[in-house]
């Protein structure tokens, strides 16, 4: 795709580089990249791809700007609070580079729109903030055969890699199963260092540009981890699992009806009866006949010192099955209420228990 004289001047510092040149800059202009999520990662990705002269950029985000976003989402200002992220990003980026074609999608990415949308782009960038969208994005990339530039952050640490590139590994080759619902908190629950997504998003933008230009080594089959507190980078090799990739392809025709929230346990996959800590205290004070099964290790604190307590650590649960009551209520507890759900699931599915109740939130504040 030919560059105008104005564009040649604008991108002169790229064109001067032997590995890019006029030809490389024309490749950038011809490229179409879709950025999913305009959050901490999406902002720097879009900023650098716009400045670099990637010809067509798709921006999808249904979310609106909130004051707490401004600590790290650097495309937005106080005047943008309450407005759609994708729309505001486009207006801002247009000022940075009027030569770029922007396609804005102020909507949620779903199984209904993903395949059509992805097929219109060359490269997909994942800047989402939850597991169900990450699995959806991965599977849609596998089905439409698009490379996926992945970035993810947690507190002070980040991960970057390129998935599904020329027979390389995919997200499911690294993490075949989503984590248990609620076990990985998100930025709004635990916080995140503001500069971290800037560093990780910039690495993602760099991979996009290298992929378009065909220069250097991509992070395909390599997961780059970064720890901002210790300034340490570590690159880990990831291998492709044909089985995982094939599973996605086999389910291709069901993709549109697949429920990723359900898959990731956001909508409860497993219906469990629960009680609160207060209700448990009341049960101990009344004459209720029940058993309490503690699936933590023996040394975990605080302990519940009562007669009707059975200690059955989750990793040895099988050897305690015969001691778990079947003729009365059984309250299953752990530190945070997550391991206990896993225990209930195992006991109900493998041993047909139907009298188990989970202690919501765990015994930590006993």
């Amino acid at each position: 795709m030919n560059l105008t004289n104005q564009e040649k001047n604008r991108y002169s510092r790229h064109i001067l580089l032997g590995k890019i040149g006029l030809e490389g800059q024309e490749k950038l202009k011809a490229a179409k990249v879709l950025v999913i999520g305009v959050g901490g990662l999406g902002c720097p990705v879009l900023q650098y791809l716009t400045a670099a002269g990637v010809g067509e950029l798709g921006i999808i985000d249904y979310d609106i700007i909130d004051e707490t976003n401004l600590q790290r989402q650097i495309l937005f200002t106080v005047n943008d609070i309450g407005k759609n992220k994708a729309e505001v990003a486009k207006n801002r980026l247009k000022q940075l580079n009027p030569h770029i074609n922007f396609n804005v999608y102020p909507e949620k990415l779903t199984t209904r729109n993903a395949l059509n949308l992805f097929s219109e782009y060359d490269i997909i960038v994942d800047g989402t903030d939850n597991f169900s969208t990450r699995y959806l994005v991965n599977d849609a990339c596998v089905i439409t055969n698009k490379p996926l530039i992945y970035g993810a952050i947690y507190k002070f640490e980040g991960q970057v890699t390129v998935f599904n590139y020329k027979g390389g590994p995919t997200y499911r080759c690294l993490f075949p199963e989503p984590p248990k619902a609620g076990s990985v908190p998100n930025c709004s629950e635990i916080g995140v260092l503001g500069v971290l997504p800037g560093l990780i998003g910039t690495q993602q933008a760099n991979e996009v540009i290298k992929l378009i230009l065909g220069i250097g080594k991509l992070l395909s089959g390599k997961l780059l981890t970064y720890d901002s507190l210790n300034n340490s980078f570590l690159t880990l090799t990831i291998n492709r699992s044909e089985e995982q990739v094939q599973k996605v392809l086999d389910e291709k025709s069901n993709f549109k009806d697949f429920d990723y929230d359900f898959f990731c346990g956001i909508i409860s996959t497993f219906d469990v009866n629960e009680i609160s800590l207060d209700e448990l205290r009341k049960m101990f004070n009344s004459s209720d006949n029940f058993q309490l099964v503690d699936v933590r290790q023996e040394w975990e604190q605080p302990r519940v010192e009562k007669d009707n307590v059975l200690i059955a650590p989750l990793n040895e649960l099988e050897s305690y099955v015969t001691k778990i009551a079947t003729d009365k209520k059984v309250i299953v507890v752990c530190q945070h209420g997550i391991r206990s759900i896993a225990a209930i699931e195992q006991l109900e599915k493998e041993y047909n228990f139907n009298n188990l109740i989970n202690l919501q939130g765990g015994i930590e504040n006993w």
Binding site: D126, T128, A152, L174, S183, V184, P197, T225, I338, R339
Partner: protein
């Protein structure tokens, strides 16, 4: 024979440490994991992957000597 363990993200919080040296009494990653899960039960709540000498491996991977181990949890933040 010593294993050098490095904990990332939530695995560091579950174990209460970033790094640790362990005598290598394990024949496989599976045995190492079982021991770590017993020692740091909060790890049971995390579906982490294990890397041996900078390569992500499965549980049946055989451990042989002085290896560098990394515990890698999934991150979702963006």
């Amino acid at each position: 024979m010593t294993l050098k363990l490095k904990y990332f993200g939530m695995t560091a919080e579950a174990s209460g440490k970033d790094e640790e040296l362990l005598d290598n009494n394990y024949s496989s990653v599976k045995e190492l994991k079982a021991d770590l899960l017993a020692k740091y039960p909060n790890l049971l709540e995390i579906n982490f992957k294990v890397a041996v000498n900078q390569e992500i491996v499965n549980d049946d991977y055989k451990l042989s000597g002085n290896e560098e181990i990394a515990l890698l949890p999934p991150f979702a933040g963006g």
